[in-house]
Amino acid sequence: MALRVLGISAVVAIVAATVFGLFIVPADVNQGQPQRILYLHVATAWLAYLSFGVTTVACIWWLIRRDPRADAVALAGAEVGVVFIASTIWAGMMWGRPVWGTFWDWGDPRLTSTAVLLALYLGYLLIRRLTDDPQRRATRAAIIGIIAAIDLPIVHFSVTWWRGLHQPPTFGDPENILNPPAPGQFVAALLFMLAAFSLAWLWLAINRYRLARLEWSAEDAARRGALAPAASVAPAPEPNA
């Protein structure tokens, strides 16, 4: 019931945030209408970071404790993160064409490192399909998940470490956190969209976690069922053996 309320709240909030961002907040003087895409672009990017951060922590948790819940959390984070980072890239491309004059530039460090991030976590999801042994699969995936996390700071700091098309951080700069260099309405629209998508992110992540736990249980039961007949027909040991 609580999950249903969360899902409905997410849909209502996203509709409201979209109406606010598209029809109530004015267009930017310099960028015009495409600036409205940034509400989606930034919100999905931050939530993708959160997803992959959750996956990284869960991968470490699995390697230390071998807890199936950790593998389920890692999988949920990675899969939802892939959806959000793909959304980020798409929104960035739709913004880049009218503002930068190009959909994509492989010479830009932020764009390229983000594409690599998507490829790494797609690899994380694909490597899970290579074995049916849940323990081995979780361990391999955890190692890949930790390796993929190396790209997270590279993506984030790429705009300050190297020069490219992408602008430096607007909100991540410590001097700008409490005094962002953007009109209050734009900041409100961004935060509204972030809050709305956060609800959706939570709903998706919880449901993906539940699915992973159910699948693990079913797989575990199937493996035990497959082993049980073999054990029942095994010859009894000799009394003096």
Binding site: G7, I14, T18, L22, G32, Q33, P34, R36, I37, L40, H41, T44, L75, V83, A86, S87, W90, A91, M94, W95, R97, P98, L125, R128, R129, D132, P134, R137, A200, W203, L204, N207, R208, R210, L211, A212, L214, E215, W216, S217, A218, E219, A221, A222
Partner: protein, 52 residues
């Protein structure tokens, strides 16, 4: 009269429509898989989809 603003709106609509559609399709797929897994858990004789 320039057509540039109309072109800009196309990019905005494309961004929102594609992302909302993508997230909605993913959510619907998730719900369908979840219901199937719940049914399989309730009736253990049905083969379950393996974890990936």
């Amino acid at each position: 009269m320039s057509l540039e603003p109309i072109g800009d709106v196309v990019f905005v609509v494309s961004a929102y429509v594609v992302i909302f559609t993508g997230v909605a399709v993913y959510a619907a797929t998730l719900v369908r898989r979840l219901r199937r897994a719940e049914r399989a858990a309730a009736a253990p004789e049905e083969p379950a989809e393996p974890t990936r």
